[in-house]
Amino acid sequence: MSEQNTAAIGTEEDHHHHGPDNGKGLMGYVKRWVFTTNHKDIGTLYLWTSCIMFFIAGTMALLIRTELFQPGERLLDPDFFNQMTTLHGLIMVFGVVMPAFVGLANWQIPLMIGAPDMALPRLNNWSFWILPFAFILLISTLFLPGPAPNFGWTFYAPLSTSYGPPSTDYMIFAIHLLGISSILGAINVIATILNMRAPGMGLMQMPVFIWSWLITAFLLLSIMPVLAGAVTMMLTDRHFGTSFFEAAGGGDPVLFQHVFWFFGHPEVYVLILPAFGVMSEVIPTFSRKPLFGYSFMVWAIISIALLSFIVWAHHMFTVGMPVAAQLFFMYTTMLIAVPTGIKVFNWVSTMYKGALTFETPMLFAVAFVFLFTIGGFSGLMLAITPADYQYQDTYFVVAHFHYVLVPGSIFALITGVYYWLPKWTGRMYSEALGKWHFWLSAISLNITFFPMHFLGLAGMPRRIPDYALQFTDFNVIATLGAFVFGFSQLIFLVNIIWTIRKGKPATGQVWEGAHGLEWQLPSPAPYHSWEKPPNILPHHPRENEPSY
């Protein structure tokens, strides 16, 4: 431990100690990053990959918005527009949000549970290094003969089977690779959390971020194989004469939707549960109060995850299901509002009468609570079967899931990065740039997505490159907002690079109100986090415990 303490403040010299000696030059570089078995290196790789993919998929979003700036076919060929919506969705889900949360998991889980590394370090490397190959396959579809996948990120049969372009097969194999990567990653996370906690840290002493990842890993292991099954069925329908989704042979295209959404609904919790975890760390820190209702927060995560397996057909109210099924899925879906409501209530209660300060992570966290709740409410509206007949496939749906994903998942990721960046780099980010980033993002995203509610209610269909004249004004506003949002993210990038290069040294504690094991380590955290498990567990304070 004494060695670690001397390295408490990040200096230039430390960089030499920060990692194994792999030799100089290109080979040294390759060995460091390609062969690495270190959770921090792998976390960094995940985060930077996701950052690159974020700007690629963001560019696609801006192309979509540019086309929609005015009615009529202006910029993009309609087929290319469809390819953009498809790839934007696929990359944002599989290339940005999922890898970024896995990156946070890699960095933070060992630090927060007092472990030296992830449980299976070599497997950890493999989980990451499958990803770039998967993205090469996925993006290669743009350069192959014929169009790239153009049927939406949900790749419904028969659009993706009988009518899918040849490049669909490359997408299928890319999804297989992404699935393998996620499954291996989830196995590692679950083994680490169940097995590597410091002595004395029981399950109910774990930070909520760790809980959220434990449950997320379980969800991933349950649903990624089902997605693999779905794309395999697509592949055999396309090439080997099977008739899973072919009514002429006795199958049913609707079966595809069932299999896909059995994956798809829990998947949205894969994208949001770790976000809940981040919030449950950040809000108490800047409220200088323990998290309100810890055990309720844990049970809420668990019940959300379990409920997520019996709600999938709320995406399919209009495909012709029996009424009884529609009612069942409507009620189960609405039930999810209960644990989600508990979470929002508890975050707000944590802030109530707290000594609040609004550093950048807290700003993003507070915005998350407000804006995610808006997305939650529109989700409730969509859950009402008879109302959904009106909303289905309109911009209202687009508004809904962008509200839960952008100020939800993406804001949580940004929050997590600002919050833990000083711990990772040993340097403070620029608060001024952070505030600019926050205010521009928070305002512009509302300008982008709020009008979409009105467009949807008025009947503008999604996934169509043209629209009727009366929708023009709101589309103009949305496009302007989107550009501001997109370019604001460059501030984030600049801030991160600036922090790494020039940031002021950070202390080990970093945040005055922060609790948890990661803050007991110096900043930057030593290359091997906890070579010896911490002796005394820091009290992860709870609301109902008088000791705090």
Binding site: F133, P166, S222, M233, F240, A247, A248, G249, G250
Partner: protein, 293 residues
């Protein structure tokens, strides 16, 4: 902390095996996709990928075995990591089969009866294929011009029942092998493990035989409508898992022969036996819902 403390949690040093594995997977996937599009080098790339993957597995598992022989993994916590890892891997495999079983049940309970006019399918039936009759096994598809149905399907109590018996027996022999490993009776372990592997091979031979009958005599093919689809996809993926399982059984046989296992140190054996039992259980469910009812 370059050299781990004896008995501490072993942190594997940097390794090149994962990236070799990724290259292998990429070649397999990219090769398969090219193959499907009749690009000349598709199959070569695909098989090269398989070759690299096998090379990687030998290398990676060899590394773990040698770590273990050097005593680096003699740690309770380490052992638990491997155990949890294998458990959750099998869980994900269960979910994979779950997707296909789910499809089977949906097709049998909903899609075929609806096409035949039951329940909410009345209009669909009238408009699409008014002459279609819902039966299971589905011998006449809704549109025979696109999907020719099979003449007949396999007799439950012939080959499939025999195969059930074979797999159940192999489940017993691997348990005998487990006892033998625990009691460090090498010869008994070798005989029982060898028997298990042979039963696995026998199962696969029978399965190939069954497929030949299905294709040659009964007209039951992947393209013969949704019965053939679910039949071949479920039994096919099961067969693939039996193949992998049998290879693993043989590897374990060799490792018993080499004396790698003792009372305390035999996790690889257990992992493979878990996998084999999983394959066994999948078959039982398959037998009931694909062959029997």
């Amino acid at each position: 902390m370059a050299t781990p403390e004896k008995g501490g949690y072993y942190l594997a040093p940097p390794s090149h095996w994962p990236i070799v594995g990724s290259v292998a997977l990429f070649c397999i996937m990219f090769g398969a996709a090219h193959w499907l599009h009749d690009v000349e080098y598709g199959p070569y790339l695909f098989f090269a990928g398989i070759g690299i993957l096998i090379f990687m597995m030998f290398g990676w598992f060899g590394q773990v075995i040698s770590d273990n022989q050097r005593g680096l993994l003699d740690n309770k916590q380490m052992d638990h990591s491997f155990r949890w890892g294998m458990c959750w891997f099998i869980f994900s495999e269960v979910m994979f089969f779950g997707a296909f079983f789910g499809a089977l049940f949906y097709i049998r309970i909903f899609s075929v009866p609806w096409l035949g006019g039951e329940g909410p399918g009345a209009i669909t039936h009238l408009l699409l294929w008014p002459n279609f009759e819902s039966t299971w096994p589905l011998l006449n598809t809704p549109d025979p011009s696109k999907f020719t149905g099979p003449k007949s399907v396999l007799d439950t109590w012939g080959l499939p029942a025999l195969n059930t018996l074979i797999l159940l027996t192999s489940g017993a022999t691997i348990t005998v092998a487990h006892w033998a490993v625990l009691k460090e009776r090498r010869i008994q372990a070798l005989v029982a493990q060898g028997a298990t592997a042979l039963l696995g091979i026998l199962f696969l031979v029978m399965q190939v035989h069954e497929y030949t009958i299905a294709y040659m005599e009964k007209g039951l093919t992947l393209g013969s409508g949704v019965f053939g689809t679910t039949f071949f996809m479920l039994t096919g993926f099961h067969g693939l898992h039996v193949t992998l399982g049998t290879i693993m059984l043989i590897v374990i046989f060799v490792r018993i022969y080499k004396g790698h296992f003792n009372k305390q140190r035999h996790f690889a054996f257990e992992a493979v036996s878990w996998y084999w039992h999983f394959v066994d259980v999948v078959w039982l469910v398959l037998f009931v819902f694909v062959y029997w009812f």
